[in-house]
C-alpha cells in the first residue's frame, strides 16, 4: 500500500507536468476569444453600474467573455488582439484558437486526473499508515498541495474563464509535489504520541486547508500584479505574460474571495493548535518558531484584509501583501522545519 502511494505520487507529478505543458501550449497558441475579455468588460460594467457599485467583478469578466463574442471582441482586438496570430487567413487563426482551446481543455482534464491520482496517493498513504496522512512534512506538503488543486478545480467549475491561471497553478503543483517527493520523502511511521489527539487532527486539517487556499489565492494575486501592469500599458517582461489573462479587476476580486474565505479557517486552525498545545505542552502559546511564523502569517493576512478595506491603499499594495503572506506560509512549511529547531520539529526532515 505504501509503495502504491509512492508510485501514485510519481505518476501524479508527471500528469501535473503534462497539464502544465498543455496549459503552456494553450498559452502559446493564444485564444482569440479570451483575448477580448479584459478591457471591454470593465468599461461595459463601468458604464452600466453607477458610481457606487463595484466595477469589474469576477462575474463581469465571465459575462463579458461569454456574451461579447463579436462586438466586444472587435473593440478589444484593437488593443490586445490582432498581431499575434499572425497576418494569416481567418481560417488559420480560427484553427489556432481552436487548438489553444483544446490545449486548455486537455490541461484542465489532466489536472483533474492528476488531482485524482494525488488524492488516491493520500488515501493509500493514510491506509498504509492507519492514520490521517499528515504526520510529517512529506505528507503535509502533499496534503496542502492537494487542497490547493481541489480548490482550484472548484473555482474553475464556478468561473471557467479563469482557466489560463492554470499554468501558474500547475507550475506550483509540480514544484511542490516534486519537492515533497524528492526532498522531503519519509517512510511511513505512526504518529508520535504528542501528535495523537483530536485537536491535532482538527488543527492540521484546517491548517492544511487554509494553506491550500492561501496557495491558490497567491496565484490570482500574482496574476493580478502582472495583468494590472499590462493594462496600464507596461510591455516589459513579466507583464507581457499577462497578455491573455482575465481582467485585472476580476483577478483582484478572486484574490480577495479566496483570502476572505481562508482567513477565518486559518484563524480557527491556529486556535485549535493553541488548544492542542495547551493539552500537550501545558501552554497554548509559546513562541516556538512554528507558532511565531503562524502568527506572522496571520498578522500579514489581517493586514491584507485591512488594506483591502481601506480605499486609500492601492490594490497593488494589497496584492503584494497577499503574496507576502503566502511567502510567510511557505516559510512556515519549509523554512522553519529546515532552519530552526523547536517543539514542532517532528517534521522528520
Amino acid at each position: 500500500m505504501s509503495a502504491l502511494s509512492d508510485q501514485l505520487v510519481s505518476i501524479a507529478t508527471l500528469v501535473y507536468l503534462l497539464a502544465m505543458i498543455s496549459h503552456a501550449v494553450e498559452y502559446a497558441l493564444g485564444n482569440s476569444r479570451a483575448r477580448a475579455v479584459a478591457a471591454p468588460s470593465r468599461e461595459l460594467v463601468g458604464a452600466a453600474v453607477g458610481g457606487a457599485a463595484a466595477s469589474g467583478t469576477v462575474a463581469d469578466a465571465r459575462d463579458a467573455a461569454g456574451d461579447v463574442a463579436t462586438a466586444g471582441a472587435l473593440a478589444a482586438g484593437g488593443t490586445v488582439g490582432g498581431a499575434e496570430s499572425g497576418a494569416g487567413a481567418p481560417g488559420r487563426a480560427e484553427r489556432t484558437a481552436w487548438r489553444a482551446e483544446l490545449g486548455g481543455r486537455i490541461a484542465v482534464g489532466l489536472t483533474a486526473v492528476a488531482a485524482a491520482l494525488h488524492l488516491a496517493a493520500l488515501v493509500t498513504r493514510g491506509l498504509a499508515a492507519d492514520r490521517m496522512p499528515w504526520g510529517n512534512m512529506y505528507e503535509f506538503v502533499l496534503t496542502v498541495s492537494f487542497i490547493g488543486v481541489a480548490a482550484w478545480l472548484t473555482v474553475l467549475v464556478k468561473w471557467p474563464f479563469l482557466r489560463r491561471l492554470g499554468l501558474f497553478l500547475t507550475l506550483v503543483m509540480v514544484l511542490l509535489v516534486a519537492t515533497a517527493e524528492l526532498v522531503l520523502y519519509t517512510p511511513i511511521v505512526p504518529l508520535v504520541p504528542a501528535l495523537n489527539s483530536y485537536w491535532f487532527i482538527v488543527h492540521v486539517s484546517t491548517i492544511v486547508f487554509a494553506s491550500g487556499l492561501f496557495l491558490l489565492g497567491a496565484v490570482p494575486a500574482a496574476a493580478y500584479l502582472m495583468r494590472a501592469g499590462y493594462e496600464d500599458g507596461k510591455r516589459s517582461f513579466p507583464y507581457t505574460l499577462a497578455k491573455r489573462l482575465p481582467a485585472a479587476a476580476g483577478l483582484e476580486r478572486l484574490t480577495f474571495v479566496l483570502h476572505a474565505f481562508s482567513f477565518p479557517i486559518f484563524t480557527f486552525a491556529v486556535i485549535a493548535g493553541a488548544i492542542w498545545a495547551e493539552a500537550a505542552w501545558g501552554r497554548p502559546w509559546g513562541w516556538d518558531p512554528k507558532e511565531t511564523w503562524a502568527f506572522i502569517s496571520w498578522v500579514v493576512y489581517a493586514g491584507y484584509l485591512h488594506a483591502r478595506a481601506t480605499p486609500s491603499v492601492k490594490r497593488n499594495v494589497t496584492a503584494w501583501l497577499a503574496i507576502f503572506g503566502f511567502l510567510t506560509v511557505m516559510m512556515n512549511l519549509f523554512g522553519v522545519n529546515i532552519f530552526f529547531e523547536g517543539l514542532h520539529s517532528y517534521g522528520g526532515l
Binding site: A48, A52, T57, A194, G282, T292, T310, V313
Partner: protein, 550 residues
Amino acid sequence: MTAVDDRPATPAEAPRRRGNPLLALLRNSWRQLTSMRTALVLLFLLAVAAIPGSVLPQRGVNPEDVRDFYTANPDLAPVLDRIGAFDAFSSVWFSAIYLLLFTSLIGCITPRLRDHVRALRARPPAVPKRLARLPQHAVVPAPEGGAAAVAEALRRRRWRVAVRGDEVSAEKGYLKETGNLIFHTSMVLVLVGVALGSWYGWQGNRLLVAGPDGVFCNTRQQYAEVKLGPRVGDDLPRFCMQLNEFDARFLPNGQASSFNAKVTVDEDGGPPRPAEFSVNSPLRLDGANVHLLGHGYAPVIRYTDRFGRSQTSAVPFLTTGDIGLTGEGLAAFPDANVDPETGERNQDLQMAFSGLYLPTAPQEPPFVRSEHPTEQNPLLELIAYRGNLGLDAGIPGSIYQLDQRQLRNGRLTEIGVKQLRIGESWTLDDGTTVEFRGTERYIVLAVRHDPGMMLLLVSSIGLVLGLMGSLFVRRRRVFVRLLPAGPGDPDSGSPTGGSSLVEVAGLPRTEHPGFAAEFAQLVAVIGGGGRPDVADTDQGAPARSREGAE
C-alpha cells in the same frame, strides 16, 4: 470599490475654535493613531518585529540555545541581550508595537460601537429621490396590499424595514458590522486573557521518579524551575503526587507510540485517589494542570562506604535527545564516609558517580549510545570521583553536574571507570562498593495554573464567529416606492390600486457579487404579489443586473 469609507474613528471633526495647541496636538495624534492606515502600519510592524524572535534563540523557548549562542558569539550576544533579543516577545519594542496597536484598536472600535448601536436602533434611511441611479433598479406591478404588503414580504425575509407613506426602505446585514466589532473586541479580550495569565498564573517544572521515595508536593521549593506571576502569593494549591507506574510503548524502530502515567494524588486533605495522565491529556486538578512533558530512566545506585553504611539513590539520568533514551547523570553522595561513631565528616571522602545509562546497549563497544528506548540490554557506565564535591551537605543525587572547579584544583579526583549490568557491583580502590541495582522510571512534569485560559477560550470563539460574520455577511439596502397608477397620469394616485406600479432599487453597501440575483428574486416576490414562482418573468433592468449574477 468597497462601500466602506476610510474610517478614521472621528469623522471629520472640524477644528473648532483655536484651542490649546497641546490639546490640538493630542487630538490630532489620537486621530492619526486610530486611523486605518496606522493600524495597517502597526500590523505590518508587528509581523516584522516577530521575525527576530524566531531567528534568534529565545529564553522562553530554550534557554540552553541562548547559552550556546553566548558561547558562539561572545561579542554579539551581550549587545543583543541588552536590546532584549533573547526575550523578543516581552521586549520593549515588541510590547510597544502591540500596545500601540491595541490602543489604536480600542480607539477605533469605541466610536464604531457607538455608531453601530445607533444604527441598530435607527430605522433604515428614507428612500432616495432618484431610485434609477442606484445599481439595481426595476419597475414592476405593485402587489395587492401596497406598501404594507411589501414591508411584510421583506420582513419575512428578515429585512429590517421602515415604511414611510408609500415608500419602504429596508436594510439587511447588520451582522457584518456586529461581527466585525465582536472580532475586534475579542482581540482586546485575548490580550486581557494573556495579561491575566501572566499576572496571576504560575508554572513549575520538575522530575518525578516512580515509587514512594519520589512523592512530591506542590510547593515552590519542590520545583526545579518555577515561574510565578507577580500577583501570585506564596501559597500554591496543595496536592501531593506519587508516580506508581509509567507505561511507555515503543515501536521496533524506537519511536514512541504511547505513554501513560499512573499516579496517586491527594488534593488538599482529600483521600488519596488514583489518576492517570498522558501526553495529550493532562491531569486537571483543582487550581493546577499537570502535564507530561518527558520521561527517562533513573538508575538505582547503592554506595556502601568504608564504615559499611549504604546509601541508595534513584538518580534521574537526563536524556540526551537520541531516540534510544541514552541518559546522562550524576549520583552524588556528599554524606558518604561520615564516621558513624564520631559523626565526623571528612570532606575529602565525599563520593560522586557520573555516568551514562544505555537501556539497550549495543553488543560491541563503544557503549555511548543506546539502540532502543526499552531496556533490552541495560548498561550503566560509571566514573567514580572522590574528594570534596564543593557542597557541604545535601540530599543524595540532588545535583546534576560536578563542580568542575573542584576537579581542576585537584580537590576532587577521578578514580576509575566501570561498566555495570543490573545487579553487578564494583569495588573501588578503598574497598567501598557501588552497586547498580536496577532502574526506576521518571517523568518530567510541568505543573501550571493559568486563570486567563477561560477568557482566552471564550474570546477565541468570539474571534472566529465575529470574523465569519464580518467576512461573510453583506450589508445591503432595498428601497421601494409605489408609483401612482397609470403612466400617463402621474397625479391620480391610488397607491393600493391593482394597476399601479412599484419602483424597486437596491444598493449593496459592501461588495456583493450575488446581490443582483438576490435583488431579482426580491423584485419577483414584490412584483408577483408575494408569490416567488414568477421569479424569472421580470429581471428588472437586464443591463444593470450585469453587476454580478453569481
